[in-house]
């Protein structure tokens, strides 16, 4: 089934690339969204859920959960992009959408891949599509960001490949399916396993936007048009998270699992540290939101590191972060249309310029900071509870201190946007409140999850986190 859909998505992307008018691009995008809807229906109502498609893809619980999130977010991103890029030349316009559709397709593949090599191949494919999107503006800055993105991602992915080879050597059964590797790893050489995990984690960190290769995600979000940055910061980050999570699960029954968890803890704390410090330092709202992603993925890594209920919390955190962060990036896209820039020290008075957008930003701020009724409050509370239960006081103190810095930085800078006097030129004719409302609807979804977690979602996460 999935190959048929891949073929359709590729044809639609090709059709978009050769479109001669904006109308054709819009029709192609509409068709693309419709095929994803059809895919969802076939997946859940057509009996394909939990089945294997072809040799390399399985519609398992984790893949299905993240795919639903991707389908929702990418629909918003496509619709917002239409408005965001309305003044672009048709050549750039169609290339952007073609690459965006390809990126979504590649991410879908990453979610459902049941083979470690296929996951790796598709993650590398996202680098190719992402690079094209980054270079959309054709400026010196975007060229620099694209060059760095290609260079660092390729090097990172090459390092991850070395790790995969080591892992396969440790499993020594010739198969690259996650299930087969898992059964063979229990007796693997601990030194191989440790080296393999470190290499894979380092390589994939460029996609999940965690320490050490987080910088490239920041540059990517900075260079990409804001709606696409929303997809990169959620859909693509989730792909990195899932790739690491699948490898993490492979290690669950090995002798080195405790060591793996310690590595995740260190990486998580370092990511949180980087996020907290740079949230204060940057002067660009897109980079600012990207550092918030680093911080949140750091929290998810800490959840995986402490284990127990922390794993559940980590997954729930990533799910809810998807709605919140995509909403905030879409709000930032509206801000860009009004101010024609992202400079933190110059933009202001947003509450009087676009009240709906400002409310979206403030509510987004409250939810991303994990204040109740934010769903992130639940996940962070669970993680902290697990830390206290385990008696890791140093971790609890470090995490709390860093979260305090995060809270101060985010509040200070987003409140400035709404209330400080504006110093930049305004383009008030570009205010589109429908887009602000639309972005808020994603936040509402997140807040609903804060109040009420549906039983099927809980059961789904329970199944996914079972090691």
């Amino acid at each position: 089934m999935i190959y048929l859909f891949f073929a359709i998505w590729l044809i639609v992307a090709a059709g978009t690339f050769f479109a001669r008018s904006r109308r054709t691009v819009h029709i192609m995008c509409g068709l693309y969204i419709a095929t994803h809807l059809a895919f969802l229906i076939k997946l859940f109502l057509g009996g394909d859920y939990l089945s294997t498609s072809g040799e390399f893809f399985t519609f398992d619980e984790a893949g299905a959960l993240f795919y639903v999130l991707l389908a929702i977010v990418s629909t918003y991103v496509i619709i917002h992009s239409v408005e965001y890029l309305k003044d672009d030349k048709i050549e750039n316009y169609r290339t952007y959408f073609a690459l965006l559709l390809l990126l979504i397709t590649a991410i879908t593949g990453v979610y459902f891949a049941n083979n470690i090599a296929v996951t790796w191949i598709l993650l590398e494919t996202t680098t190719l599509c992402g690079a094209g999107i980054l270079y959309h503006r054709h400026s010196k800055d975007t060229l620099e960001a694209t060059w760095k993105y290609l260079f660092v991602c390729s090097t990172g992915i090459a390092i991850a490949y070395l790790g995969i080879l080591l892992l396969c050597a440790a499993a020594s059964n010739g198969s690259l399916r996650y299930d087969d590797i898992a059964t063979m790893l229990a007796n693997g050489d601990p030194l191989y396993l440790k080296a393999a995990f470190l290499l894979i984690l380092t390589g994939y960190s460029c996609k999940m936007e965690i320490f050490p290769l987080y910088t490239i995600g920041i540059d990517a979000n900075f260079a990409a048009p804001a709606p696409a940055a929303g997809l990169i910061s959620t859909g693509l980050v989730n792909a990195g998270f899932l790739a690491i999570f699948r490898v993490y699960k492979l290690f669950a029954h090995t002798a080195v699992f405790e060591w793996v968890q310690n590595v995740m803890l260190i990486i998580g704390i370092l990511s949180l540290c980087v996020g907290a410090l740079f949230l204060r330092r940057t002067n660009n709202y897109k980079r600012f939101l990207s550092y918030s992603t680093v911080e949140n993925m750091g929290i998810a890594a800490i959840g995986l590191g402490i284990g127990g209920i922390g794993i559940w919390a980590a997954l729930f955190h990533v799910v809810c972060h998807t709605f919140i962060k995509s909403s905030m990036f879409l709000q930032i896209a509206v801000i860009r249309q009004i101010y024609n820039g992202y400079r933190i020290n110059r933009l202001g008075d947003y509450i009087n310029i676009n009240k709906v957008g400002a409310i979206g930003i403030i509510v987004g701020m409250v939810t991303v900071l994990a204040f109740p009724p934010s769903p992130l409050f639940i996940s962070e509370l669970m993680i902290l509870t697990e830390i206290f239960t385990g008696g890791d006081w140093w971790l609890a103190i470090a995490m709390t201190l860093l979260l305090c810095i995060v809270i101060y930085s985010i509040c200070y800078r987003l409140i400035k946007l709404c209330y400080q006097p504006n110093q930049d030129e305004l383009h008030t004719s570009n205010i589109n409140r429908r887009l602000s409302y639309s972005a808020i609807s994603l936040l509402i979804l997140a807040i609903i999850l804060g109040f009420w977690q549906p039983a099927p979602l809980k059961a789904l996460i329970d199944t996914i986190v079972t090691l």
Partner: protein
């Protein structure tokens, strides 16, 4: 024969620390391409002929011919011939390269067992470290590109160590490796130099906080 080719490969990596001219870098990449071709032929001869010819042809066409050709074109186009004189000296680079060689040898000794071809692992690790050293020590973007190609070649070499049982891995790696290398080289040739007029990675520091 296989051992001889691998020793030659190690010599090219040591030589990497000694050269400063870009043409020499391009020559090293060319030689490595041909050595990898030889290693692939000897190491993977038991594969199905279709898979073997796919790997061999790709290695020959891209690693031994096209990538070196693009590198030479970049040198001609940018008219930059050597690394910056203000950078790290050859002596220091050589010392670092030897340290990397010793670290690789010790690590290989520690992790070696029957499931991984020891020599391949050690050389691949040395290639990885050599590439990283090159990227860190030299400031010109061209040398960074060469560093990336050295890393890719090292990973390719390692994939051959366990690739006899898993040819799909090798195919996938080559395909993407080539695609990325060609894309990056093309981007360098057509965009970076034209737009930024840079020969120095210090010029690529505008995107930051």
């Amino acid at each position: 024969m296989l051992l001889a080719l691998i020793i030659l490969y190690v010599i090219t990596l040591i030589n990497l620390a000694l050269v400063e001219r870009f043409r020499k870098y391009a020559s090293i990449i060319t030689i490595q391409g041909w050595l990898l071709l030889g290693i692939a032929l000897l190491r993977l001869h038991s594969l199905d002929w279709l898979e073997l010819s796919f790997i061999v042809l790709e290695t020959l066409i891209f690693k031994a011919i096209i990538v070196p050709h693009i590198l030479m074109s970049v040198i001609k186009k940018t008219k930059i011939n050597r690394v910056k004189t203000s950078g790290t000296s050859q002596f220091n680079a050589l010392i670092l390269s030897f340290v990397a060689l010793i670290v690789s040898a010790i690590t290989t000794y520690l992790v070696a067992d029957s499931s991984i071809h020891m020599l391949f692992f050690g050389v691949a690790m040395y290639a990885l470290l050599s590439g990283l050293i090159l990227i860190v020590l030299r400031s010109r973007i061209f040398t960074h590109m060469v560093g990336f190609l050295i890393i890719e070649n090292g990973v390719f070499l390692f994939s051959m160590a366990i690739g006899v049982e898993m040819p799909m891995l090798i195919n996938a790696a080559i395909m993407l490796d080539i695609l990325m290398s060609v894309l990056m080289l093309s981007l360098f040739m057509t965009k970076v130099d034209d737009k930024i007029h840079t020969d120095d990675s210090d010029s690529l520091t505008h995107v930051k906080d």
